[in-house]
Amino acid sequence: MPPVLEVRNLTKRFPGITATDAVNFTLEAGEIHAFLGENGAGKSTLMNMLYGLYRPDEGQILLNGQAVQINGANDAIKRGLGMVHQHFMLVPTLTVTENIILGNEVVNGLLIDIASAQQRIRTLAQTFGLDIPVDAVVHDLPVGVQQRVEIVKALYRGADILILDEPTAVLTPQEADDLFVVIKRLKAQGKSIIFISHKLREVLALADRISVLRRGKLVGDTTPDQADEAKLASMMVGRDVVLHIEKRPATPGEVVLDINHLQVADERGNIAVSDVSLQIHRGEIVGIAGVQGNGQTELVAAVTGLIQPLHGTIVVAGADITGQGTNRAIDAGMGHIPEDRQQHGLVLSYSIADNMVLSTYDIAPFATGLIINEAPIAAQATALVQRFDVRTGSIDALASTLSGGNQQKVVVARELARPLNLLVAAQPTRGLDVGSIEFIHKSIVAERDNGTGVLLVSAELDEILALADRILVMYRGQIIAEVPGAGADRNQIGLLMAGITSTGAQA
């Protein structure tokens, strides 16, 4: 019997880059096939070709031994392919049922037959042990449940091959365990699964077969019993790399950030930060560890003055700045490296020079009274571009023309250019290349050594472990534990991130 899916020499080129380079693999019925790779290794491109969103430049896709050309999502669905995207493809304002039947509605006359659709969905959900509330509106559901809706959506369309793109990135370890049970049940029912991840342990625990992608090429094809974490890691990265930053022990000074009983609501008015008190001293990096969506974003927004907290106080270097806006926070000596550099950190249609003075344009020497002085702005930009190694032809180049790493260096340079009391860094290296990550980490440590207090929020536990002098674990809007940064235990923090506090942490 031919394999369910076979890919031969699949190649896709984008201007300046070969995203996938002659990739070959097969997927057998009832198999879990994992794809490992760093960001930009070509995993998404490969999956988008399978799902018909990109047309391959070379190579063949065979389904059950038949060469096929997949024209768009509709065609992929018809051929029994289902995809659970990393960013869920659910319409938040529609109900679970509406989302599942969208594009494939059961009609009774002209109207949608909701009752019989729900009957089908319930049956399906029961078969695979997927518990979903069919009448709930999607934006009210927890992330884990939304993911189950995505899976049911694919099954509803008769998918035999399920592609799961980084499915655990947004889950707590516990939710991830639930997902693994589901995946195994799907396998037992004869579904074939492609599982994309960059988390080694998961892949080893779950997969029947493992393919490793690096820079568009398939560099390894193995099974869990032939591989271990170290082997997979070096295959993924191409060399033995461990994230490690040289830093001296911290010498904390006086308190520079003092948060007391902070309570913050999210955009929809739900309490996201329920009661947080913390202190940061000069010359230390405090890392907030936690699974995404446990209130970190709202904590940062309140501290930096973007939103008003419901209760509590925020004092920076002796000045109470609670709810007084971003300008007040900047005046108190706060620097902010925001999560989303393109949307919040930069004006992409501005030159590098203008971006470098985005928060200091109105003070000397960049302005005299109401008038802007171009010469000092240019001088500042030239100096910062050099100091922070921003790779660009000219300080007049638009920020939109820079690579992600260089864009982030512009943000970091701007924020570190003025004397700071406190630096708030939210996901400072997300999606960057290794070189930029290293540079930004060194810059943050150097700023600490200058006596600035640093609040570091990151979803990458490795980043927290590498940089933080103290680690606070955030879970459901609260700080549930504090761990010293030196010698912190990865597994222990992992459990804390899932809300399990029984293993001897100082709460």
Binding site: T326, S349, L370, I372
Partner: protein, 367 residues
Amino acid sequence: MSTPPPTPPTSGWRTWGGILLVPVLAIFTALVIGAIIIVATGADVIAAYGGLFMGAIGSPRAIAYTLVEATPYIFGGLAVLIGFRAGLFNIGVEGQIAVGSMCAAVVGAFVSLPPGLHAVVAFIAGALGGALWGAIPGWLRARTGAHEVITTIMFNYIAIRSTDYLIKVPFLDKASSSQRTPFIAEGAQLPFLFGPDYRLHVGFLIAIVAAVATAWILKRTIIGFEIRTTGANPDAAHYAGMNVPRTIILTMALSGLMAGMAGASQVLGLEHNLKASFSAGYGFDSIAIALLAASNPLGVIPAAMFWGALRNGAGLMQLNSGISINLINIVQALVIAFVAADQIVRQIYRIRSARSAGITLSRGWGR
């Protein structure tokens, strides 16, 4: 011998050519379609466009009249353009002009001040009236999120009804048979540049100064930086510590200020009183001029002159060929369509695509 450094992409005639190319071709295409409409109506294209041309720039007096027509368009175009730069769409220029001219007419006719000073005070009153009328929708946008596209239009109707009442009841010139305010004091008039025959008045010079000042404010001041940043990325402006709501209100006030000056200059320089149903579609014309100027304040001057020429020449066109002056409105709308969707012009004339000004207004109705 060393090779000269490569020319930076922001200077040289090529760039100016690039900036001018699309508007000029848009105008040309619109005129061609206008000609097709003229032919379809069975009229003589040569007579029509000949009349348009002669009426617009056929004599020194025609040129002066064209500049007179262009004056309010310069102010109005600047008003819309300032909004564009902050990502705001001020469709309320019409109403702001009405309020500005009302204020100027009342101060000009009902207040006594020394000559000269009177004109200055009346002009400022008109400008501030417009600024206030623009600032209110700005405030509503900043504080409540009510979209300025709808509120400014509503404020047009409110302004027009209010001034209609004020002209017909409290400030009516009872000595006159027509419904208008009294003539303003002679000392409140803006002087004519070449005597009353040519009608060209100081308001035109103020408009030129306003255009230069707008360019300078946008490029070289803190306020301009805030306006541009708010327009380019309001989130980044907020993150960088700028007061975005204040900038929105200020921008709308500045925009209304320009419109108010248009009204003041018409009343104090040209009409010398205010008639019921005074303003004539300046609001939409101003949008066209701002788009034609490609968001460049100095570009507003030639764009407004072109518009003034169309308006001024339309009369002779109608006289010579019997074509309704409304044809000019069609040509105008086509020009806007082609400038707004510059891809169409580029497609017709096979010009390579360039980075466009990229105005973003439709951010939805809420905040």
